[in-house]
């Protein structure tokens, strides 16, 4: 029995190598695609979970809002531009006002023009938790926080449609921080400057 061993010609060999490479590549791509999808899928879950956690922790507010100083108003007032989210632009404005009061109480206004309080009214850690019941009622829809914020300017707002369902709206508001401080002092959350003397 004679066995003919033939060497493949170079063109065939090249084609074969390319094909197998393509096949490998295709397999690899599919695998990669699967893993990437899986990672994205899991990440979307964890991101969603994080947001839910944040919401739960904050109780009444999503605390990752943007805020910047626009200047000083009259005595005890500061002008700030704040962004809010909502399913309708009006909801977003409503949410932005809530964020503005929250920023003055808990965050301070660090960016933007000069003239705003860089320090928050409450800078002691744990006070928000300690007085959770008070703040839940204060920041409830239509709550007392509305007494300390008013929209300024000619009503112009910056509106961005972030998804099919959500709007992000930036609005300039005046915050009456002196009155806000007086309210928190009356509630026993903040100390008056002369308390104890």
């Amino acid at each position: 029995m004679t066995i003919f061993l033939t060497m493949p010609d170079s063109a065939y060999l090249t084609e074969f190598v390319l094909c197998s490479k393509y096949q490998n590549l295709k397999n690899m791509n599919l695998k990669n695609l699967f893993f990437v999808s899986l990672v994205f899928f899991l990440f979307s879950f964890s991101a969603e979970a994080q947001t839910k956690k944040q919401r739960a922790a904050a109780g009444y507010i999503i605390s990752n809002y943007e805020v910047e100083c626009m200047g000083t108003g009259m005595d005890g007032t500061q002008l700030i531009k704040v962004w809010g989210f909502g399913k309708k632009p009006d909801d977003a404005i409503y949410n932005a006002k809530k964020n503005a009061v929250h920023a003055v109480i808990f965050k301070g206004i660090l960016g933007g023009k000069p003239g705003c309080m860089t320090r928050p009214l409450i800078n002691k850690p744990g006070v928000e938790e300690q007085h959770r019941e008070y703040f839940n009622s204060f920041f409830a829809d239509g709550g007392r926080y509305l007494n300390f914020v008013s929209q300024t300017g000619d009503g112009k707002v910056d509106r961005i449609k972030v998804s099919n369902k959500d709007y992000k709206v930036g609005v300039i508001v005046a915050i009456m921080h002196s009155q806000l401080r007086a309210e928190l002092e009356a509630a026993g959350i903040l100390k008056e400057l002369s308390r104890g003397f």
Partner: protein, 321 residues
Amino acid sequence: MVDMKKYVLLSILLLSTIIGFSQAKKPTLMVIPSDNWCIKNGYVQTQDVMGTIKTFPDYKAAVQNDTELLMVLSKINTLMADRGFPLKNLESVLKTLETQSAEVSMLTSKAGNDLAESPTDVLKRTANADIIIQLTYVLNQVGPKKSITFMLQGLDAYTNKQIAGAQGTGQPSFSTELTVLLEEAVISYIDDFNSRLQDHFNDLFANGREVALQVRVFNGAAFDLEQEFDFKGETLECGEIIEDWVSDNTVQKRYNLSDYSENRMIFEQVRIPLFDERDRAMDTRRWVRDLRTMLTGAPFNTPVKIYTRGLGEVWLILGEK
């Protein structure tokens, strides 16, 4: 039994009332223009001190001539009063000092005796407060644009520490007047300043008032601070006994003995309680009284003079009154 209960209840009620109404001694605050501002604006006095010409701020000339300064002082005073902490007004304090000087020099008793006043009393008749709010502002001009750089520093007069501060440069403007820019600057920075001041007060209530104590010796004293005594079963130097007393009578034993020689001891960052054991408000004089009593008794038996500087600094001078 019923009577006993009544007494107990009454005592608790009385005690709680006393505790409820205990109030610490309130520090006085006053806004003054900084030396830097006074020198830049020409409100200075020069004096020849031992052959060296020294420059001092002239506050009276500043408040009498500078309307903008007066406006800023007035605005800060108003805003602080609105926030429940009225300040001493520099202009009024200066006027009172002048009137008092005139009255002291004119006042005599029916027998024709003058009021006793030592050179130190005269020296102490100056505008002073426990916390000095030092004010500086500069008008910046770039072409037609004007802006204000504004600085407030809260300085503790006794510890020389800056306990609060707020500073920054306002928005540049083409047409706004200086007074308006200044007013805006005050409104912008006062609440941040107050927030820091509040932190200082919170610390004061939590850890006691921070004061300074100096122990010195008169030339004619019978012994100095390195003299050894047998005291409570130990042989210690007078200075060491004083240090032990300070350690026992400070909040959480917090103090810093920064200098100790045979003639003087300097205690800094001494934290004294705000109230004594009978719930009376404490100041440095009241605090150091027990130390004086200890030193006037055996085995020291020395007269001791207490010299106070406001709420936060006291000198204890051994050997004479």
